[in-house]
């Protein structure tokens, strides 16, 4: 038995797979102690814990520790003269018209920031030796007196020479056992001291939290007789053994959305699709991501609460468009949706909890594209009249019927989502028409067809149990690790040797780390150089296939860079300007040979029903059917609604749905409205 448990803000999802049989389950989360919700889910599933061979877990513990500033007291140690790195930041502001703008506060304040003497220069040479005696005399007692549970160390130019950081780490660990010590060169080896300091500080800050959480979780599993493998999700879409996460907790910061993308990518790969755009629509927000050749695209420019984290994470774009997004009319008389949300309380008007402002969920209820008896499998009462009342002023303002207004609001929400997808596709050189759309989350399948039409996408693939795909992603993901190193090199005849030497050094380190974590078997490597025209500030990632390294020439490097630059910036392929490499990245993946399959839960077939629903500006006759009854070989054409216990799929007019051998629904648009 293999089990994935994903703890979200509202619900904890469980997927259990054994011998091709799939069980899915949703229980309320327990935000104060998320592990309670996880064990509640296990209890409700009835699965005997000793029978679990593999348990993969994802949670928002690390993320919430940062967002709510609930980490343990943390100190920051840096080079003499630079105590204020965390406060100085980069001095730009993200809201330029906000006269009362304040920067996001660092997780460590000035009084907990300390300095050590010793200076390394940009070429790695030592200008002043590290004064370990002074550190032992002054710094260690100060750290002890401060009662810190974690210490982040970021010394200037440590990305090129980590010797001082490592020596300081050893000294502090020797004197303060039990305190978590994290150094920047172990987390990210890239230049720009504020970004690196921010990354290592956030890493240190969440370290004791994650360490305690994972230790407690593992201990409790053991008490219940668990003898299988326990692993935890990372933000890069891969997971690591629970023990490894206790050492590098920063990689857990964006793990929930990453698990969803990985789960979607794995499940639709079984239908032969490798290029996809994922669409996860929840209550307050929508997450979108591009997957190319089966691999979620990664970015190194992730921010949490406005603070940079320079580690590779799945490149997910989030917009404030979800079921709870508020429908409103602006001062210029235009219809707008979001980014404000009615939240869970009072929530949409139709929840009957006192909400009176119209939301997208209310619009769906009015259009009958969400059925009042389908919320939480019928466990939640829906007030359709309240939804109509909330939308009435909007309808009146535009001289429309209430249904027309609801339909218009859904189209505006679709436009917002389309824009979010364009940001990560067209702006990164990916043409959405070359991709299939993969919707999931509670409301993804409701909006997918409209979004696809606007983007020119002709095929939609909907995985089974689309509402719990993140929990499945935990089980389906590979084990992975990423490493990076700043190393500037001109692209000339000396470059190929530099590339090969760097690759060998990075590979050796990565493989040794993987083996020490117990990852045996074959390891796959991916190697990328970040390159730019000399003088540019931003680099373009240029993948370097391993089999090209042996015969690599400067001309090859230029050509690969030119093509990558042309793809993103629409010029540069023909240029003869000098090019340089700025840094290298190595990805290590321990592939899972026997990733479990997600299939349609059995026994969910039911009778079809005729329904009326409002789509594309008119009431239409349609079909309501349970997803389980769309057996392979049968197809259905829109308008139709397909329910499963986790989400509702809207199939508009002109779309056809079929279930394929992998249990995915394949939606195609007939050409007549192209």
């Amino acid at each position: 038995m293999r089990v994935g448990i994903e703890v979200g803000g509202t619900f904890t999802d469980l997927v259990a797979i054994a011998d091709g049989r799939v069980t899915v389950l949703k229980v309320p989360s327990t935000p104060k102690s998320p592990d309670i919700g996880a064990f509640n889910a296990l209890a409700e599933s009835g699965i005997p814990i000793p029978s679990i061979t593999e348990l993969a877990h994802g949670s928002t513990v690390a993320t919430n520790a940062v967002l709510e500033r609930k980490g343990f007291p943390t100190a920051f140690v840096t080079t003499a003269g630079f105590r204020d790195i965390l406060a100085l930041q980069r001095h730009g502001r993200s809201r330029i018209y906000d006269l009362a703008y304040h920067q996001p506060p660092a997780v460590v304040d000035r009084r907990s920031s300390f300095e050590v003497s010793g200076r390394i220069l940009a070429d790695g040479s030592v200008l002043t030796a590290l004064d370990l005696a002074a550190a032992e005399r002054d710094l260690v007692p100060a750290l002890a007196a401060g009662g810190y549970r974690a210490i982040a160390i970021c010394l200037l130019n440590a990305y090129v020479n980590p010797a001082h950081e490592q020596a300081l780490k050893a000294l502090i660990r020797a004197h303060l056992p039990g305190v978590h010590v994290t150094v920047s060169s172990d987390v990210t080896r890239e230049f720009r001291e504020f970004e690196r300091a921010s990354t290592v500080t956030l890493s240190a800050y969440v370290q004791p939290v994650m360490d305690g959480y994972i230790a407690r979780f593992a201990e409790r599993l053991k008490e219940h007789g668990f003898a299988g493998r326990f692993s935890v999700m990372q933000s890069n879409g891969g997971r690591v053994p629970g023990e490894a996460m206790r050492e590098n907790a920063v990689t857990a910061l964006l793990s929930g959305p990453a698990a969803g993308v990985t789960g979607a990518a794995r499940q639709v790969a079984r239908s032969g699709y490798g290029n996809l755009i994922t669409l996860d629509i929840g209550g307050t927000s929508t997450d979108v991501c591009v997957v190319a050749d089966g691999r979620p695209q990664l970015t190194n420019e992730f921010m949490i609460d406005g603070l940079p984290v320079r580690i590779p994470v799945v490149d997910i774009n989030t917009v404030g468009a979800g079921g709870g997004s508020i429908i409103w009319v602006d001062e210029g008389g235009m219809l707008r949706v979001g980014p404000h949300s009615a939240g869970a309380d009072p929530g949409p008007a139709c929840y009957g909890r006192g909400g009176t402002v119209p939301t997208i969920t209310d619009a769906h209820v009015v259009r009958r594209t969400m059925r009042a008896d389908a919320f939480l499998g019928g466990r939640m009462r829906i007030d359709a009249d309240a939804a109509r009342t909330a939308l009435a002023p909007i309808a009146e303002r535009f001289g429309m019927s209430i249904e027309e207004a609801a339909d218009a609001a859904v189209r505006v929400a679709t436009a917002n989502i389309v824009r979010a997808i364009q940001l990560i596709s067209t702006e990164r050189g990916h043409d959405p028409r070359d991709y299939v759309l993969v919707p999931y989350g509670g409301a993804g399948p409701l909006h997918a067809a409209d979004v696809a039409r606007d983007l020119g996408i002709r095929t939609i693939v909907v995985p089974p149990s689309a509402g719990i795909i993140s929990a499945y992603g935990l089980l389906a993901s590979d084990f992975s690790q990423f490493d990076s190193r700043t190393l500037r090199a001109a692209v000339d005849d000396t470059a190929p040797a530099v590339v090969r030497e760097t690759f060998d050094a990075m590979r050796e380190r990565a493989v040794a780390r993987a083996r020490s974590l117990g990852l045996d078997g074959e390891l796959a490597l991916e190697f990328t150089a970040d390159m730019r025209f000399v003088g540019q500030a931003f680099e373009v990632p240029v993948p370097l296939p391993l089999d090209s390294l042996a015969t690599l020439t400067a001309a090859d490097l230029r050509a690969r860079f030119g093509a990558a630059h042309q793809k993103v910036y629409h010029f540069g392929a023909a240029s003869d300007r000098p090019v340089e490499i700025v840094s290298f990245r190595l990805g290590l993946i321990a592939p899972q040979e026997d990733a479990p399959r997600l299939s349609e839960p059995s026994g969910t077939a039911g009778e079809d029903r005729a329904i009326e629903l409002y789509t594309d500006r008119a009431w239409r006759q349609g079909t309501l059917l349970s997803r389980g009854s769309l057996v392979p070989g049968r197809s259905v054409t829109g308008p139709a609604l397909l329910d499963d216990s986790t989400s509702t799929l809207l199939l508009p007019d002109a779309w056809r749905a079929e279930r394929d051998a992998a249990d995915n629904l394949i939606l195609t648009r007939e050409t007549r409205d192209a």
Binding site: G81, F82, R83, D84, A87, L88, R90, H91, G92, R93, R95, I96, Y97, D98, L99, A100, Y101, Q103, R110, R111, L121, A122, L127, L156, N157, Y159, F191, R192, E193, F194, E195, D330, E331, G332, G333, M334, L335, R336, A408, R411, V412, A415, N416, V418, R419, Q422, T426, E427, V534, G535, Q536, A537, F538, V568, Y569, H570, F571, G572, S575, R577
Partner: protein, 553 residues
């Protein structure tokens, strides 16, 4: 078509699309340009215009670019009427006295066609690293005529129907210090404009070009209506403010006055800058587009920044800019340091509007963006040029302390990481910290300035050239509602032999190995009586070392 009859959803979809196109154009510019001021200063913007020259959408990361492409597009279309433009045309302009801002900012405009019909213009403006003239970087603080500031381009076609004018290209290359980078950055502008043109043509194919053109007009009218409504919601009246620039870079002991009278009436706003200093001999003069950018920023900051940014927003704004003054100079006055002036104009406009919305307006900020440039050769003969942009503290407001070391008003630049500078130049950063005690005292304390110390390493071939363009060295940011002023900026060069030289705000000099420069930027003004500051806030400041305690050194 009647405004109320046009499908509001289609309108919102088209608006979204236009904003998206401008953003995508700008991202291409920001990320692929070489100019340091684009990379760290975000000094580039992208716009779409109607064929009549009205802004449809603009992406700008820094407010100093708001509306600045309008006169450039107007001049280009005056000289080259849109009816005669052809697909594949590219136009350039940078002359401040004919639609430009200052010479490093080059406007590049491309007509957008669909099915042979011109429907719009795509325009970009980039601050180029060097356009020739007196000093590397083309921002000499000691220029006295525009002819010393670099290559001046009136509206000129660079390409007609897809064919580049190679004669012009060779003239461009011959007039700048690093031709490859200059042409490369122009190509980034061409790519961004072509991308915008292609995306807009796609939108026209989708919605129909007539629908699109109708939507353009409606969107502009709506932004105008929203701006007027927001201005109507403000109290009517007339308010004044003044502030000072340290000097013009030539006469170092003569401060320059900026005076603003703001009048809000019946959904319109008027800024009269009469009383500002006569035009200066040095380069702090700002042509009228600078004051328009400042006004657009001030109006958005006090109204609703969510109003879609297009030409409609500008219609309720009017300006009086006396000819021959620092805010409307006559040719050939130099203008390269205009951003310092625009920052001060913006500060004065906001200070005047504090009379209308006192509960929303903080005390004056340092309003200082220290611009430094270091250039020379490494011992091995290779050249380096690097720049640094440093901000001071922001003003405290009713209910909150100012922010330490933060960009404010019309600019929004990033600093240069010490590790980046040490990679690029033979310079070591010895120290970089908050400037203790520099925030104006008050019930709410002004934000602190910062201190950064540089040392020139022995790996240089010869003394390097150093330029320093500061502000707030002579006149501090004042407090509001009884708050105290922020500390003034101080910069000192300590030569290798121990002698010291204080920089009077602006200076061009050389630095030899072992020379050090310490710059301390200004603090923001405090808000409210200092005696009423909450003791918990004072204790917190003391614990974090942000204030100088009485009795301590």
């Amino acid at each position: 078509m009647n405004m109320e009859r046009f499908d509001p959803v289609t309108l919102e979809v088209i608006r979204n699309r236009l904003d998206m196109i401008a953003e995508e154009m700008q991202l291409t510019l920001l990320r692929s340009s070489c100019s340091p001021i684009v990379k760290e200063g975000l000094d580039a913007s992208a716009s779409l215009f109607t064929v009549d020259g009205v802004t449809l959408a603009q992406a700008c990361a820094i407010p100093i670019h708001l509306a600045t492409l309008i006169p450039a597009v107007a001049e280009i279309t005056r000289r080259f009427p849109t009816e005669a433009m052809r697909e594949g045309d590219i136009y350039l302009l940078n002359d401040p006295y004919a639609g430009g801002t200052h010479l490093p900012d080059i406007a590049l405009v491309v007509p957008v066609f669909t099915a042979g019909r011109i429907i719009a213009l795509a325009a970009t403006m980039t601050h180029h690293q060097d356009v020739g003239g007196l000093a590397a970087g083309s921002v000499p603080t000691n220029a006295t005529e525009i002819f010393q500031e670099g290559l001046r381009l009136p509206a000129v076609p660079w390409a007609r129907a897809g064919v580049f004018d190679e004669t012009l290209t060779s003239v461009l290359r011959a007039n700048v210090r690093i031709p490859d980078v200059f042409i490369g950055d122009l190509h980034a502008q061409v790519a961004a404009c072509r991308l915008g043109a292609a995306r807009l043509a796609e939108a026209a194919a989708r919605h129909g070009d007539n629908t699109l053109l109708t939507a353009f007009g409606l969107l502009i009218d709506r932004s105008e209506a929203m701006t007027r409504a927001a201005l109507r919601a403000m109290p009517e009246g007339t308010w004044q403010a003044e502030d000072w620039l340290d000097n013009d870079g030539i006469a170092l002991d003569v401060p320059l006055r900026i005076a603003v009278t703001a009048t809000v009436r019946d959904g319109t706003i008027h800024f009269d800058l009469t009383g500002s200093s006569p035009q200066a001999r040095g380069p702090v003069n700002a042509v009228p587009s600078g004051s328009l950018a400042a006004a657009c920023f001030a109006v958005r900051a006090v109204t609703d920044p969510a109003i879609p940014n297009n030409g409609g927003c500008f219609r309720p704004i009017s300006l009086t800019l006396p000819e021959g003054s620092i805010v409307n100079p006559r040719m050939p006055a130099p203008v390269n340091a205009r951003s310092a002036t625009i920052k001060r104009i913006t500060g004065c406009m906001l200070a005047a509007l504090a009379g209308a919305v006192p509960d929303r307006m903080p005390a004056p900020s340092a309003g200082e963006l220290l611009v430094m440039a270091f250039g020379g050769h490494w011992a091995d003969g290779s050249a380096f040029v690097t720049g640094e942009l440093l901000a001071g503290g922001s003003g405290a407001g009713p209910g909150y302390d100012g922010v330490d070391a933060i960009e404010t008003d019309a600019t929004n630049c990033m600093n240069l990481p010490a590790e980046a500078m040490e990679l690029e130049a033979p310079i070591r950063v010895r120290r970089w910290s908050l400037r203790r005690g520099s925030g104006g005292d008050g019930t709410f304390r002004g934000g602190l300035g910062q201190v950064k110390e540089y040392e020139v390493l022995s790996t240089i071939a010869a003394p390097l050239s150093f330029s320093h363009r500061g502000e707030r060295h002579a006149i501090a940011a004042s407090g509001l509602a009884g708050g105290g002023p922020g500390a003034r900026a101080v910069s000192v060069i300590t030569r290798a032999d121990g002698t010291t030289e204080t920089i009077a705000s602006k200076r061009v000099t050389t630095l030899a190995a072992g020379d050090r420069v310490v710059v301390e930027t200004a603090g923001g003004g405090g808000w409210g009586e200092a005696a009423r500051r909450d003791s918990a806030r004072r204790d917190e400041d003391a614990a974090n070392g942000k204030i100088v305690l009485e009795g301590s050194a």
